[in-house]
């Protein structure tokens, strides 16, 4: 089901390519930044008291697509996220929508949705990490003259699922973790 959703999203995104207008404009938006979040969990070493830790992870991604409208471009986003115990590669369909056109400083909306794979992830012995659905909506600011390369800063919310099969402990016969990363993603990038 997850994979199906992903393929559908890719198809939707890719459909942009199909509509070859006369002057197709290629769009690239490449960013790097951090994924900021927290985790609140029961610490078994402290009597299962709730404990809160901060989390920061590095993320890079590149959006490649075409402009299908003055304000709207659509394409495919490839990324790489270095979570502490998972290296995930989300592949997503994405859109970028400019709220205003023809200005040097533009506010734009961004949405990416897809599925993350674990191609480059290396598991500890006995563990098995699988990726999952990713959604990443937010807004950004583009600074630069229209039609040439511009700097961007984006602030988005990123939700990434993952599933980890773990080695059972001595009194267990099965152990797995359903993981949802809920992160605030702050990214800098360039677009042209």
């Amino acid at each position: 089901m997850k994979k199906l959703t992903f393929i559908l999203l890719l198809f939707l995104a890719g459909s942009g390519y199909a509509q070859k207008a006369k002057n197709v404009r290629f769009v690239n938006h490449t960013e790097f930044g951090g994924l900021f979040g927290r985790v609140k969990y029961e610490n078994p070493y402290a009597g299962n008291a709730n404990q809160v830790d901060s989390k920061t992870s590095l993320t890079i991604q590149t959006f490649n697509g075409i402009q299908i409208h003055d304000k709207l471009s659509t394409g495919v986003t490839l990324g790489m996220d270095w979570y502490k115990t998972a290296l995930l590669n989300p592949i997503a369909g994405g859109i970028r929508y400019d709220f205003v056109a023809e200005k040097n400083v533009k506010l734009f909306g961004t949405v990416d949705a897809g599925y993350a794979f674990t191609w480059f992830h290396d598991d500890a012995d006995g563990a098995d990490t699988k990726g999952g659905i990713m959604v990443n909506p937010g807004v950004g600011m583009r600074v630069g003259k229209p039609g040439v390369a511009a700097f961007t800063i984006t602030l988005t919310y990123k939700r990434q699922e993952a599933h980890i099969t773990k080695v059972p402990l001595w009194d267990q016969k099965e152990r797995y973790e359903d993981r949802v990363y809920n992160r605030l993603a702050l990214r800098l990038g360039i677009s042209f």
Binding site: F36, G37, R38, V39, K40, Y41, E42, N43, Q51, D53, K55, Y83, K84, T85, A86, F99, V100, L107, D123, A124, D125, G126, A127, T129, V139, L155, Y157, I164, K166, V167, P168, L169, W170, D171, Q172, K173, E174, R175, Y176, E177, D178, R179, V180, Y181, N182, R183, L184
Partner: protein, 429 residues
């Protein structure tokens, strides 16, 4: 700029939960304590109408009948005259039963602390004919231990159930545990694991059935040998219906299996393999102790080679998953021939030169072991679509038991096993 839109975005950010949510789900063993009166337990051995397999344990074969242990509950008697359609005949209710041995028409079974002999001349109406009281002091079932309280005449038992629990974790503990609590004796497995093609030892005119690599009961001449966690009990069975407690030999902790072969007893323990000389069946003498790390280890023997498996897992502390071939031509000084890496080996059975090896959830592997130094290169087949716990090779047929049921295969071509029948767990035939 549209201030309303901006406001919306800010509110949205505030509302977003930027907490990682990680739920770890575990299937965990839970113990609950129960006390049973011996007086009551001793009235409960009786034949009942056939029932379905729920938690199959060890299996035992004699003639056309199969005896499948239902862990802690009793024994299913199955008519296997036609392996393509085995039929449940009777269920013998035996509280606290884990092991089986059959000599002629007498079935020996443990019932917590007692050894019970049951006349199975008529398999549809087995009846208790003898009992040796209070011989076993402690025991294990599926990780839960029981102990005998002789002063009040009761069994203090731990029931085991598997519960699913979900806890929030910190999303980062992805590494398997490297340290064990160590030395937890009750982790030792006490589930079944059977095999052998040549387990039938010398008999004294009587005929025995076949057990295998994980059996705790063995028959040799006029004795029944039963290993508990630290001792070997000898029962004299001159009169098969009336076993007599003969003697007890202390062996040290972690005894798991016994395999009689060629006037010797091969005893698997959690630390290694003991070899006992059994020329005089009343007085087994220890010849050697082959130490090979800490793991569960059924043993089967063919001629001068013992096949020993070691595995890790929930029930066994240890860090090796391997098959060891051990030269036992000089039983006083067993020597390692070679170790082969396996995935999670359980029971095994040899029908030389074919070795059947259960790999738990990884299925069943078949090896040609004619060349003892290249067993891994002579894997004949690997059947993955099953859970394999124990196997008994009867030559042309192969009996296999796993968590999901009991299977019989036509093994005339070991490369291409053909399933003859399957009795799934939880379903009637």
């Amino acid at each position: 700029m549209k201030p309303k839109l901006l406001l919306l975005c800010v509110v949205a950010w505030l509302c977003w939960s930027c907490n990682d949510q990680c739920k770890e789900t575990r299937v965990v063993r839970r113990f609950s304590n129960a006390t049973y009166s011996l007086m009551e337990l001793r009235t409960q051995v009786k034949a009942e109408s056939p029932r379905t397999l729920e938690q199959p344990g060890k299996m035992y074969v004699k003639g056309k009948y199969l005896y499948v242990n239902e862990i802690k509950k009793g024994i299913h008697i199955i008519d296997n005259g036609n392996p393509a359609s085995p039929k449940f005949v009777t269920f013998i209710n035996i509280p606290g039963n884990g092991d089986i041995a059959v000599r002629d028409n007498i079935l020996y079974a443990d019932s917590f602390c007692d050894l019970v002999s049951i006349d199975i001349t008529n398999p549809t109406a087995p009846k208790e004919v003898g009992r040796v009281d209070n011989v076993f002091k402690t025991g294990l079932f599926d990780g839960g231990g029981w102990s005998l309280n002789e002063s009040v005449g009761a069994i203090n038992d731990q029931n085991v159930e598997w519960v699913t629990e979900t806890v929030t974790v910190n999303c980062e503990d992805n590494v398997p545990p490297t340290t064990w609590w160590g030395g937890v004796i009750w982790m030792l497995a006490d589930r079944a694991s059977f095999s052998s093609s040549s387990a039938s030892p010398q008999s004294s005119g009587g005929s025995n059935g076949q057990a295998g690599s994980m059996a705790r009961f063995a028959l040799d001449r006029n004795f029944l040998y039963a290993v508990s966690q630290s001792q070997m009990h000898l029962f004299k069975i001159d009169k098969p219906a009336q076993p007599v407690d003969f003697t007890t030999i202390n062996m040290g902790w972690g005894i798991e299996t016994i395999f009689p072969y060629d006037n010797k007893l091969f005893i698997g323990s959690s630390t290694g393999m003991f070899i006992y000389d059994n020329t005089n069946p009343a007085e087994p003498k220890q010849l050697s102790n082959f130490q090979h790390g800490r793991a569960c280890d059924p043993v089967v023997v063919h001629e001068d080679i013992a096949y020993v498996t070691l595995r890790t897992g929930t029930a066994c502390a240890g860090s090796q998953n391997q098959l060891d071939l051990v030269d036992v031509s000089n039983p006083a000084a067993p020597q390692l021939i070679k170790s082969y890496q396996m995935e999670n080996p359980h029971g095994l059975s040899i029908n030389f030169p074919t070795l059947f090896l259960c790999e738990g959830e990884h299925g069943l592997k078949v090896f040609d072991v004619a060349d003892k130094f290249s067993v891994d290169r002579n894997q004949l087949a690997h059947f993955k679509d099953m859970h394999a716990y124990d196997v008994i090779s009867l030559g042309k047929t192969l009996l296999l038991i796993g968590e999901d049921g009991f299977y019989q295969y036509d093994a005339s071509n070991p490369k291409d096993l053909k399933m003859l029948s399957k009795i799934p767990v939880g379903k009637a035939i």
